[in-house]
Amino acid sequence: MTQQQTAGGDVRLVGISKTYGSFTAVQPLDLTVPQGSFFALLGASGCGKTTTLRMIAGLEEATTGTVYLGGKDITDLPPYKRPVNTVFQSYALFPHLDITENVAFGLRRRGIKSVKKQVDDMLELVQLGDFARRKPHQLSGGQQQRVAVARALINHPQVLLLDEPLGALDLKLRRQMQLELKRIQTEVGITFVHVTHDQEEAMTMADTVAVMNGGRVEQLGAPADLYENPRTTFVANFLGTSNLIAGEIVSTGEDLVVAAGGGKLTLPRERCSAPTTSGGRLLLGIRPEKISLAHADDADDIAAGCNRVTGRITDSSFIGVSTQYVVESPAGTALQVYEQNIERDSRLTPGAEVVLHWNPAHTFGLDAAQDIDAGATSVEDAE
């Protein structure tokens, strides 16, 4: 561990920004990627995540700011002098070289003569030992992707940069490669910085996720923390789905009581990231899977102290493990509710009057001054 610490080090970006003419791709940005972590930059296309990655690689010159690697300033080093390697989005395998030579490329450029053993070991790690003499175009997409990873990893970089490495693969293969990459990262212990627009991918693989939007980092944290405690509407909508209900604070204390949709809802004060003055506007957030659905006839059975919203089902879709309902209510026209299919209530069909209820502790509060739909549409754009 101590040996790794001296060999590697954190990636630290200080005030880094990138402008192209009048367009600002990355706003001045401070970011620290701890050594040995699996770090994801998540955002829709055009949010500046790839530009940030390329500035770490040295393929893009930073307009302002400094890039540190393990305490050393590498801002002005050309890419071939940085102990950092990249897995490119389209893999960028050299078409004129076979797999062995592709993987050996970095070693040979640094004047290492006996590469065979290292190349064989690396191809073994990515399970491509039998393909050493093939050309890239003779391999499938998933295999090419693994060659690209091997070609970068063989150099034992201090940081491995992955630019949407799974974007070109079909869904099933992508899931498989996510686990594969995670396994490799755990095995080699190198810092991975992973750029992706797929929130599920980021949450599955990374220890820390930085959600980027419009050239800024909106929020940074562990996947579960980001999911449970989004601080902006963009994060709430981009990472999974959130029901956001606009309301007005009527009383403050340990719990906030908010008037919304003709009723009162409560949430713990510490889960509110907005100013909590009485009379202030607030956005209440609740994840669809945290809500339970009861038919209006059973409303009396709901435990006291729950947040309740009454409404009518407008749509339901059965997707196996769960059923997804869309509910129209005074609090919001399209509230999403995911019910697990344990015991299905046959009365819960479109048109049925229902009561939505959930534990107030699961509610989070956001500043009402933001666009309520931020990040909600960009997920669809990116897919």
């Binding site: 071939y80 490119f88 389209s90 960028a92 050299f94 078409p95 490329f105 970068a152």
Partner: protein, 267 residues
């Protein structure tokens, strides 16, 4: 009508063979007449089989001298035009600079201009500059028109190249020179080779521009033209046949190597 049906089924093959015959027949005539022993000075009618010309290809005065001169000019013109043209093609595709569009179209001009007009204009230019007509003026002229073809051939290739490959090379510890030699050049090679072959063929073949600007120097096409007035030695056919065979052999060897490499990669 079984005959008609057979024709209908094999129409594509028949058309293909006829086209091929149309293209190859002149070459076969050249070859066959290289073994002729003509009665007069003109090698236009078949008399009888003979190996005389093949045994003594340089037997006609000045023929081999002109051939050697043509090969030298073609070699240097190819080398120069390929190097310059490759650089121009990369500049035009990879960099944004002022007048890039204009240069891109200007490059086409030598191809579009009627050759005889260009030949006459070049002569005017050389004479006004007081240049001594000969090897150098021919070489300069050849370089000029070969350049257009090389640029066009290489540009097509460079445009289809993924710039990310070079980024990957730089990312993998290759400096600018290493990146060019190890990645850029090998990937652009088919385009560069096509441009070079084209340049060689055009230069070796050229008569009009050469004839205007050669002064008293005589290249192989000029020699053939000159002798056609007085009588055509069989040796011309020998040289033509030899060049044809060399070119075909090179193509076949190239294809053989490529297919072997492919089957090796598969095993």
């Amino acid at each position: 009508m079984p005959v008609l049906r057979w024709i209908r089924r094999n129409l594509i093959v028949i058309a293909g063979l006829l086209t091929l015959a149309y293209m190859i027949l002149p070459n076969i005539v050249v070859m066959v007449f290289s073994f002729n022993k003509p009665n007069g000075r003109f090698n236009y009618a078949w008399q009888r089989f003979s190996l005389d010309a093949w045994k003594d290809p340089c037997g006609v005065a000045d023929l081999c001298g002109s051939l050697s001169l043509s090969l030298q000019i073609a070699f240097w013109a190819t080398l120069g035009a390929t190097a310059l043209g490759t650089a121009v093609a990369f500049a035009l595709v990879r960099y944004r600079f002022r007048a890039r569009g204009a240069i891109s179209s200007l490059i086409f001009l030598p191809m579009a201009m009627p050759e005889v007009v260009m030949a006459a204009s070049l002569l005017t230019l050389f004479l006004n500059m007081g240049a001594q007509l000969g090897f150098w003026t021919v070489l300069i002229a050849h370089l000029m028109f070969c350049l257009s073809f090389v640029v066009t051939a290489v540009k097509a290739r460079v445009m289809s190249m993924d710039p990310r490959l070079e980024e990957a090379a730089r990312d993998l510890y290759a400096g600018p020179v290493q990146t060019f030699v190890r990645v850029t050049l090998p990937i652009a090679a088919p385009g560069i080779a096509a441009g070079a072959l084209l340049a060689f063929a055009l230069s070796f073949d050229d008569f009009i521009i050469t004839n205007f600007n050669a002064g008293s120097t005589v290249t192989f096409p000029m020699f053939v033209w000159g002798s056609a007035q007085r009588g055509t030695p069989v040796q011309i056919n020998v040289i033509g046949t030899a060049m044809f065979i060399i070119a075909v052999t090179m193509v076949l060897v190239g294809q053989l190597i490529a297919s072997r490499r492919k089957s090796n990669a598969r095993n």
